[in-house]
Symmetry: C2
Subunit: 223 residues, 2 copies
Amino acid sequence: MKQSARRLDEVLPFWRDLTVDQQGVLQFTMIERRFRLGTTIQSDSEDCPGLLVVTAGQLRVFLISPTGKEITLYRVFGGEICLFSASCIIRGANFDVYVQTERETTALVIPTSVYQELMDQSTCVANFTNMLMASRLTNVIQLMEDVLFSSFDSRLAAFLLEQSAIERSATLRMTHEQIARNLGTAREVVSRMLGYFQTEGLIVMSRGCITITNGPKLRALVQ
Amino acid sequence: MKQSARRLDEVLPFWRDLTVDQQGVLQFTMIERRFRLGTTIQSDSEDCPGLLVVTAGQLRVFLISPTGKEITLYRVFGGEICLFSASCIIRGANFDVYVQTERETTALVIPTSVYQELMDQSTCVANFTNMLMASRLTNVIQLMEDVLFSSFDSRLAAFLLEQSAIERSATLRMTHEQIARNLGTAREVVSRMLGYFQTEGLIVMSRGCITITNGPKLRALVQ
DNA sequence: TTGGTTCTGTAACAAAGTCACACTCAGGGC
DNA sequence: GCCCTGAGTGTGACTTTGTTACAGAACCAA
């Protein structure tokens, strides 16, 4: 499917620096795909589809333990690019990482071989990839600091506030189980802490839904 | 200080792909430095010296919490390259990461500006940096899995065995405090678990020193 | 209504981290 | 030798977080 050059220019910073030939190859090899909410786009077992240029929607990149415990490493929003969905793109790297849609998502898929060739030909593409990697590394290191150096109430408060910012709403439609999967802990632990938060008047809970009633006080818990 | 081209060829995979001019710039701008054991080469507060090409010795890259708790992210050995000592090299990334020598270390220091220029000029340099970043990212993600998904006895056993492999000796000259700093936990926790290990006959402790007496059984604890 | 599924609450326990303090060992100065 | 000091280790009480095992509540579909 041929993509409009203007659209690609908006989402790929290196677009203008490509030759006409390179632009052509990209336009004719990349495919637009839609993913429904909750789809697992890629796990380490499946083979990798390519680099994902997310045009709309939201992805969650996370780890799973052998026992099924999960933790979110970072998210990819519309306009951003998902490297991991193409971990194979970075030669020699293999992350056992899973990617799931958190909203209905559309993405342009660049085949692995095409992107690798571009990286070899263009310093702009290579350095763009570099910058992406650095930013993901920063994310993961930040997460490591949070997990190791922050108490759980602080992490949970931060998560609720972040989620509220993403949804642009004080009311979050999430189960305790889902929160636990994001934070790398157990559902019971989340329920317990949310119970404290509610008795403190920070939130109000109902089935499958949490409302932040005292944002500032919740914010005060962070870090 | 002018470095021998043969030596640089061994340690920098992209050396052969540079132009003569580029090689010349590198040779004349890079500096050899020696660091004594225990030196903190770079913290986020100081300004960054440049990219470190470690020719001999051993570095530890780690995080520190506000309360002084530490965890080792990964190590850099002789023949490897330390990106973080030049976190500034990757534009836009800032990791609050510390680097310390674990042995007497010698390294070639490439100034930030020189390396950035090379990345812009050469796809080989850019893609080499890419590969480095990917491998560090893999390290950190692996660490995240260990921290979140493994029990402490397993992590401690793995650490002792790894350390023993590095030192090529069943006897480790480390204090419990040092082990705790590597694993991101408290000294008491390490002492407690080492106590169990000793009563199980896996190790023998003496002041500042641990000897692995039953490697296979220790290995059985891992993961 | 009934039955099933999902979501939440709770209690008891285990594992790991924190805090406070005491003891031991090694080395230096006398 | 002695004493002093500081680093290294041991230990117990306690807190926080994770685990296990249920029970009850809310929702949905037949």
